[in-house]
Symmetry: C2
């Protein structure tokens, strides 16, 4: 009852001096400048979804370097002129590109990249999440990214969380060039971990893709190609004049702010939440990203 009274008191406007509760949002809002890292302009890919708005993707060169370099070359060479979103499968993925047309690769693109589905654990500094994961022996965060890893086997992989972007591929064991991309738009598709290459994540504007009509064909493909939603100006931030570049920061996942943020995510306790889980999923943490202030 005491607790209940406190909760009600918190709502009374008269108690103006009350200290607001610590929440994931308040920790992000109060994090010092040192807890944030600028995302390099060469790691930011942006495009406009026609009639919807702008999507910004942070690329992940430390995890899929060959695919990411392919994507940069494709962007710089205008490969995605005429590209469109052609697949939206509910609770699964949204997918875009030139839909397997026979357009030739720009010079320098590696047509058969290695399968960058995981990478050596060595070389990564991981802050372990500290809670169990149903899909992998361990999960944690490395340089701003959520990772699943296996200390015994020595691999680490980015996790297929909401908004994470991977390189589409066919049935064959090659890993896709990076020309056809998908983003997860529902339940994390963690069964894809180590089976497809994650090349980045949507850091702004995911709602311009997630709110698109679902495709009614098999696997959510649009049955009529006229339904495909054009992408306009697929551009690397580094290709823009300096003043026009979007600038983003990601929270340093080795910072004390991030550790507090994770603890708060795992122990939601404020006016609204009264029974904390005491744990959180690696994808539910959602690494904070913001526009540079």
């Amino acid at each position: 009852m005491f607790w209940t009274t406190i909760l009600f008191a918190a709502l009374a406007p008269a108690v103006a001096e009350k200290v607001p509760p610590v929440t994931p949002s308040s920790i992000v809002a109060e994090a010092p400048a040192a807890a944030w890292k600028e995302i390099p302009a060469d790691d930011l890919l942006q495009f406009e979804v026609k009639g919807r708005g702008t999507v910004v993707i942070q690329l992940s060169p430390d995890f899929a370097p060959v695919h990411v370099e392919n994507i940069r070359l494709l962007a710089r060479n205008g490969f995605w002129k005429g590209a469109a979103i052609y697949r939206v499968q509910d609770n699964y993925v949204v997918q875009w590109g030139n839909n397997e047309t026979e357009k030739p690769w720009p010079r320098g693109v590696v047509p058969s990249p290695p399968p960058e589905y995981d990478r050596p654990l060595a070389g990564l500094t991981i802050s372990p999440l500290g809670f169990p994961d149903p899909f992998a022996p361990k999960v944690g965060f490395a340089d701003g990214w959520p990772v699943a890893y296996n200390p015994a086997a020595g691999w680490a992989t980015l996790t297929h969380c909401y908004g994470y972007v991977g390189a589409g591929r066919g049935l064959s064991p090659d890993s896709g060039v990076g020309a056809e991309l998908y983003a997860v738009l529902g339940q994390p598709t963690r069964h894809m971990d180590r089976n497809l290459a994650i090349v980045g994540r949507v850091i702004e504007g995911m709602e311009h893709m997630s709110a698109l009509p679902r495709g009614t064909g098999p696997l959510g493909f649009y049955e009529d190609s006229k339904s495909a939603v054009p992408l306009i100006s697929v551009t690397l931030a580094s290709s823009l004049p300096r003043a026009a570049r979007p600038r983003f920061q990601v929270m340093d996942t080795s910072s004390e702010s991030f550790a507090r943020y994770v603890r708060s995510r795992a122990n939601r306790l404020d006016e609204f939440y009264e029974v904390p889980a005491g744990g959180v999923d690696v994808c539910a943490v959602q690494v904070p990203v913001r526009r540079a202030p």
Copy 2:
């Protein structure tokens, strides 16, 4: 290399006698009639999202009996005439109802239901998932539903998975009547487990809500009430003439078919997936539901 060759061979039309791989879909398709249970008509709530299509929700009376009975009374008495979807927050929830208008409750509605955020574990027959969960000591399936549970403390709760429907509530510790409902539309919001009452799940037509424009106000509320999307004919299947009732079946989660389905989800291995995770999240399992054949 041998495996690679097999994969290519599988694509060759000449190899017509090849046995198709076992996948979650093939297990569902081949499950015997005995592996399916009819959903009672009184547990099916349906409505049309104006201009979009029909949504069908399976109610969960074994977990939130008072809320579910409220919902039945609200539906039977036309309480949701004029109701609308007024909140769509990306990667979080879609929410609908009369948006806290002062409409009086129909007779019989319990205005302050008990907090049916969890229930006693006793009385449930649970098939454990068998993989760790970051949010709860144990997870599994009970009578067609995903549950998190704590054998030591003796509670069980439905899990906030994609498409799962809960009763909205205010800050106060009361649990909401069941008049304002939300459905999860992204990363499972498992931190809500045991803090809000799950009253059911969307079993058909989730795409008619998940593809709606995201609200641009705080928490994804539509800033202009004219943006709200009307709900038409919110009806229990049991209120319809027998011939007009939708009929659904859910896979018996204690069946051998379901056990095989879970194993297949945890060990995706077919032409496309070559590295099975060896585990799966309780929400990623997605209990199979189908129209009655």
